[in-house]
């Protein structure tokens, strides 16, 4: 057994951490929130230049990593920095799907950083059930037309194209729709980034795969790992901020960290974050194994529960300052809270876990 990172992985981690520490601060994030695409372009370009996007793909796919541990490493660092770039959407989800489809040219574009994409899969009312998609695909000569609605399509503002799921006679198909072909209004998200509601009204589309259920499930598993690792990084950052605050904030003539009740709660928080780390390791190690779905469910459930604890405890222990947006905690806490709202929340995955264990 070996829980140590390889030398290459450690180098990537160090470089990434340093780069993000130097480039990401509240000012960068606030500016990004105002920017139309919703994330700092310069940081994205820097990440691409460092080869970080390539770490999400195997050598066959044109990258230099692609294992669960590579994904976890990258996303933990992004989380630690409270990063708001679309590495998950463009990189793991869309890039991952294109790689599965063997579209090396498109994957190259993603790895080089020049391409922005968004996956449009969820629909209003579908909640976290990724098997329901009522959007319909109809053949139109050589081309296809899609009709339906897609909900909370993350990274919509920057995307040049959407990968859209829709029903075909063969099953759940995957299509590409150019952003320019649609009329939509992006909105900001809690915790950063953008999304949009898409109304598809016989929208022209290119078929990528007629039956994409299995590769979608795989892409979603990888994305779940990514967001769980990001959550872990967010938790670590929040723990650091909170511990520092307890050491510096003075009330009643002493640092509030001297109050035993706060010490014990910080200790509990630390224990739970270690649980979260182990859960992420479990999922990373089982991402390509037979028990993948069980680990997806277990990890996402645990991360959701721990995230709530970390968010609520850290805000509480900060007092009023924890409620504000001018202080870093606000952004980190909101972003961590929103992790529970993508790819299924703690309850959804609790039920999945129960069902899988019973099966």
């Amino acid at each position: 057994m070996n829980f140590e990172l390889s030398d290459e992985a450690r180098m990537l981690q160090d470089g990434l951490r340093r780069f993000l520490r130097e480039t990401y601060d509240a000012k960068t994030r606030n500016a990004a929130a105002e920017a139309p695409q919703g994330f700092p372009r310069a940081v994205w370009d820097g990440l691409a230049e460092m080869g970080v996007i390539g770490a999400l793909f195997t050598e066959d796919q044109g990258g230099f990593g692609g294992t669960g541990f590579d994904i976890a490493l990258v996303f933990e660092e992004l989380g630690r920095a409270g990063a708001v770039d679309p590495m998950l959407d463009t990189g793991v989800l869309c890039g991952g799907l294109l790689a599965e489809l063997g579209d090396t040219e498109a994957v190259e574009g993603v790895i080089a950083g020049g391409t922005q994409l968004a996956l449009a899969h969820g629909e209003p009312g579908a909640r976290y059930d990724s098997s329901t998609a009522e959007t319909a695909a109809a053949r139109d000569g050589d081309a296809w037309r899609l009709t339906g609605r897609k909900a909370v399509v993350v990274n919509a503002a920057a995307a040049e194209a959407f990968l859209v799921t829709a029903r075909t006679d063969a099953g759940l198909g995957l299509f590409r729709v150019e952003a320019a072909a649609l009329d939509f209004r992006p909105y900001p998200l809690n915790g950063g980034g953008t999304a949009a509601e898409l109304a598809l009204d016989a929208a022209p589309a290119t078929l990528l795969a007629e039956e994409a259920g299995a590769i979608l499930a795989r892409a979603e598993a990888r994305a779940t790992l990514a967001i769980c690792a990001e959550a872990l990084g967010l938790m670590e950052a929040i723990r650091g901020l909170t511990a520092d605050y307890l050491k510096t904030r003075k009330q009643f003539g002493q640092p509030i960290g001297k109050f035993q009740v706060l010490q014990h709660r910080m200790a509990d928080m630390l224990i739970e974050i270690e649980q979260a780390r182990s859960a992420v390791i479990n999922l990373a190690g089982n991402l390509d194994g037979p028990d993948r779905d069980l680990h997806v469910a277990a990890t996402k459930n645990l991360i959701g529960e721990v995230a709530r604890l970390v968010v609520e405890e850290s805000i509480q222990m900060h007092g009023g300052i924890g409620m504000t947006m001018e202080y870093d905690l606000g952004h980190l806490a909101k972003r961590l809270t929103m992790v529970d709202h993508r790819f299924g929340d703690a309850l959804h995955h609790l039920e999945r876990f129960i069902a899988l264990r019973a099966a």
Binding site: Q251, V261, L262, G322, M325, T337, D345
Partner: protein, 397 residues
């Protein structure tokens, strides 16, 4: 033992209900239900409606223009109005300053300020907290130095709720550095239009700016704005805190929040069925409801003791903790119920009429409210501080 209201109390409850049927504007309850932030005008409209009926200041004695209600009547009124989703009465003038002036203020202060609270001429805010003085309020440093007929005030207050609407602020200020820190504090009324007062908004997690920083630089305050005696402000502040603690359990808010949660959970679907039928979700809703039912009775036990003349002591700390935990759990479940539509940051949509809501309009404020209500366990004496009070005064630890 009898859990029912007396006949007289039931009659009063019916009177409150009839009044709400007739006078509570739907526009305002609708705002509450959808979580739209209330404007200054909204608050003033509701205050004026209540004042016309003589019900704005339920607890004030009739001689001061109040309704002279006892604790049970006050409870009934709060229960009924919050359950309907009526705006809360802004507490700073009515519930906080008013009682202090009635007990410690001069006749001139009572005659001048109390009617202006009722008729809406003045909007008060509370200037206690400072950047360095939160839980340890006695360490406050904003300074008032006597200069002839005036105090010269310098310093900074923070977390001043709705200070952007206020024209007056009641402040705790330091008038002496001798002895224990509690001994050198005075209670001062400051006109916010005085030169040297500056208000800066603080943006909270939900994107709203309901709190502010208030800066004082060489602000001249006439000595007649001192309440009671110099250096006795701590006593008055403590008295005020006992008033701030009325309706601290927030049972009505919790009931309204629970009803809203159930409405949403009936409308949302999970796995092809209404979310409310999901056994795991339903279990969590049931747990919080069971807790709430018991707390409502704890609350009534305290209210009833208070009506019999026993001022609540640490019981209000118990109610504060339990009440905030329950409301925060309801907020959490409501946010969870919205699913992926909790993600859109909907601060702008909800300032207006929710017409621009992304996803179902009932969910537009679910995340905002969840984040905003983290404050419940922080302000008015944090839950940690309340526990210490319970341990000291009820357990003698």
């Amino acid at each position: 033992m009898n859990l029912d209201y007396t006949d007289a109390q039931k009659t009063f409850r019916d009177e409150v209900r009839a009044f709400l049927d007739a006078k509570l504007p739907e526009r305002l309850t609708d705002a509450g239900r959808k979580g739209r932030a209330l404007t200054k005008d909204d608050h003033e409209e509701w205050h004026a409606i209540l004042n016309e009926k003589g019900w704005l200041a339920g607890s004030w004695p009739e001689e001061f223009g109040g309704a002279g209600w006892d604790a049970v009547q006050r409870h009934i009124f709060e229960d009924e109005t919050t359950a309907r989703g009526a705006p809360r009465i802004v507490p700073f003038g009515v519930a906080m300053l008013g009682p202090v002036l009635m007990k410690f203020g001069s006749k001139a202060q009572q005659d001048h300020y109390l009617p202006r609270i009722l008729d809406g001429t003045d909007w008060w805010c509370q200037g206690y907290s400072e950047p360095g003085a939160g839980s340890d309020l006695a360490s406050l440093r904003t300074e008032a130095v006597r200069d002839g007929d005036h105090y010269i005030v310098n310093g900074q207050k923070t977390w001043t709720t709705l200070g952007q609407y206020a024209n007056w602020i009641f402040c705790l200020v330091r008038t002496s550095k001798e002895g224990k820190p509690q001994k050198g504090i005075s209670f001062l009324l400051i006109d916010m239009n005085s030169p040297g007062v500056e208000v800066r908004p603080i943006v909270l997690l939900d994107g709203t700016a309901e709190v502010n920083e208030v800066w004082f630089s060489d602000v001249r305050v006439p000595v007649e704005n001192l309440v009671g005696e110099e250096n006795k402000g701590w006593t008055y502040a403590k008295y005020l805190l006992t008033h701030e603690r009325t309706n601290i359990a927030g049972v009505g808010f919790a009931n309204a929040g629970l009803a809203n949660l159930k409405r949403i959970a009936r409308a949302e679907r999970a796995g092809g069925r209404p979310l409310i039928e999901n056994p795991h979700f339903a279990a969590r809703v049931a747990r919080v409801e069971i807790d709430l039912m018991a707390m409502a009775t704890t609350n009534l036990r305290v209210v009833s003791a208070a009506a019999a003349g026993n001022a609540p002591g640490a019981e209000s700390s118990m109610l504060k903790i339990k009440g905030t935990v329950i409301r925060q759990e309801i907020n959490h479940l409501t946010r969870s119920a919205i699913g992926p539509y909790a993600m859109p940051f909907q601060s702008e949509a909800v300032e207006g009429d929710n017409a621009g809501a992304i996803g179902p309009d009932y969910g537009a404020r679910a995340s905002g409210q969840y984040f905003n209500n983290r404050k419940l366990s922080i302000y008015g004496g944090s839950n940690e501080v309340q526990r210490t009070i319970i341990a000291k005064s009820m357990l003698e630890l």
